[in-house]
Each structure stands twice: as structure tokens, then as C-alpha cells.
Symmetry: C2
Amino acid sequence: MHGSEQDKGESTGTTHLDLAAMLRGADLRPTRQRMALADLLFRHGDRHVSAEALHEEARAAGAGVSLATIYNTLHQFTDAGLLRAIAVDTTKTYFDTNTGDHHHFYIESSNEVVDMPEDCIRVDNLPSAPEGFEISRVDVIVRLRVKPSV
Amino acid sequence: MHGSEQDKGESTGTTHLDLAAMLRGADLRPTRQRMALADLLFRHGDRHVSAEALHEEARAAGAGVSLATIYNTLHQFTDAGLLRAIAVDTTKTYFDTNTGDHHHFYIESSNEVVDMPEDCIRVDNLPSAPEGFEISRVDVIVRLRVKPSV
DNA sequence: ATTTGTGCAAATCGTTTGCATCTGA
DNA sequence: TCAGATGCAAACGATTTGCACAAAT
């Protein structure tokens, strides 16, 4: 072996993150499918994908990854802190590549999730958690509907 | 038929809300099962139930209501504005009998939803909705985990 | 050589639906 | 009467799981 930079077929060029290292850091072997998915997820900035959508994307990108593996990977990434799962729609789980502190817009008409910069919302007066509990996270979802045309 | 007050078997006594009227107001016939469910839902203050849980409760209360009817009713009540659906857990839908402006605690270890009084949280700096959209609702969920004992 | 990951297809689980039967006004 | 409700069971869609095979260290 030598370096650890190899292209997966069609890198979009600009790459700074070392996906293999990222995976290793999470105790996950950098397999072809995990690399392909990491590439789709983290190469293009903040994304919000459902398993099904990612599956389709992977297929389109020519990376053969089964749906089962998509689910496995999505959960492994989530457990490793590389992704965050968001509950907006009861029917589907969305995964957010932005694990930082921020909140979301949810466009009800199209089932789209959009990030909101952190400083956009200030949550005040947070009540202290009930005895015996501590806050693990605060999720704010601003649901949007299409504004009726005037 | 005569009046519209009849007991469903075991009323807990204190009843001020006219469930039949409530249903009529929602254009829903006050059938035996809808009355029974409304009773379970609205008689005991703010509640957060899943379809399955309500089904079990109905069975325990001796009211024969099929699961299909539970779902139908839950959605009809929600459409009528008597209930509000909350997305906290991707796997199940919870229905909240409190339709007023307020937010929730979500206890991750037990999958419980608890109301938070309205004035508990102040959401500031709400970004204006993207062009063409308007805010339909803002949901705040404070996720709790069990505090590790010292 | 081992251990870990992958893919398929079957299994789950919550929820929805079609349709025959019943019920309230 | 008769539109509207209910219940059952089959249908569904998202996710999970068991297990044989393939790939990574």
C-alpha cells in the first residue's frame, strides 16, 4: 500500500475530507459501498436524505448498494455521530449530514427538510428537565405551507 | 331517543364537556365508538396516545372498537381540530389532546410525550419563511434522557 | 484465516384500504 | 330508509432481520 487517495470512478474534483479516515475513525471498514455513500452524503454539503432517496442516488451514481446496506450504513453513520436522524414526517426517516446545532424548516407540500442557520432561532426559558432527566437535544421544526397566491 | 346525556357504562363522574355536541360540531355522528374514544381522550385532561395504546385502553374499558376504527377516528378528530398529531418518534404517531400552542418533552427511554406549558419556551428570531411559504406551525421537542446517577 | 460487511428475500410493524354488514338520524 | 360507520382481513410501505456469500485486514 501507499497513500490512501484513490478515486472511486468519478470524483467531482474538490475533495478535502478523507472519507476513509472518517470511516476508520468510526470503527467502520472503508468498504466500497460505505465509501460511495459517504461520498454522496458528505461531498456535497448539507443534505437531508431518506433511505429510499439515497438508494436511488446510489443507483444513479453507478454504485451498486442494496437497500439493506443503505439502512445499515445510515444507522451506523448515525450511531457514529456522522449523521443525525430527524423526525418530521412519521412515515419516513430523514438523515441530516449537518450534525451541528441547528434547526429545520419542513415544507409540508413537498416533504422537504431545509436547514436553518443556528442563530436563526433563540430558544429561551427552557424549563429545567424533570427530576432525573437531562436534555439530550432540542429540536425545532418550523412547518411551512405554500402561501396562497394573492 | 330523547335527551343526549347517557352514561357509557362508567363515567368518572365529573363531566362538563358535551361530547356528543363536540362530535356534532365536527360533523361526526356521535356513534357509540366515537363517544367511547372521545370519552377516553378528553375526559382525563391532556393526553398523548398512540393508536395502539388507545386501542388497548378501549378494550380495557370494555368498549369494543376495532383498530381500523381507532385510526379512522383519530384522523377524523385530527382533521376536525380536536386532536393534533405530533412527530417525535419515527415509528409511531402520537396524538395530543391539547391543541393549544405549546411544546413537548420527549422521554427517549420510555417513548413518552409530555406537555410543556406554553410560556415555558420563547422562540425568538424566527426567520421569515422562504418566499412563497408561510409558517403553519412551530414544533419544539425537548428530548430527555435519563440522567446518569452520580 | 478471520472477522466484518453485503445482498437477497422473507419477516415485521404501524398504518391504510376494500368491502360487506350494521346503525343512527 | 339510507347515507354514513364499523370491522375484518387483506394490502401496504418503510424498515429490519436471517443467513449464505464476498470482501477487508
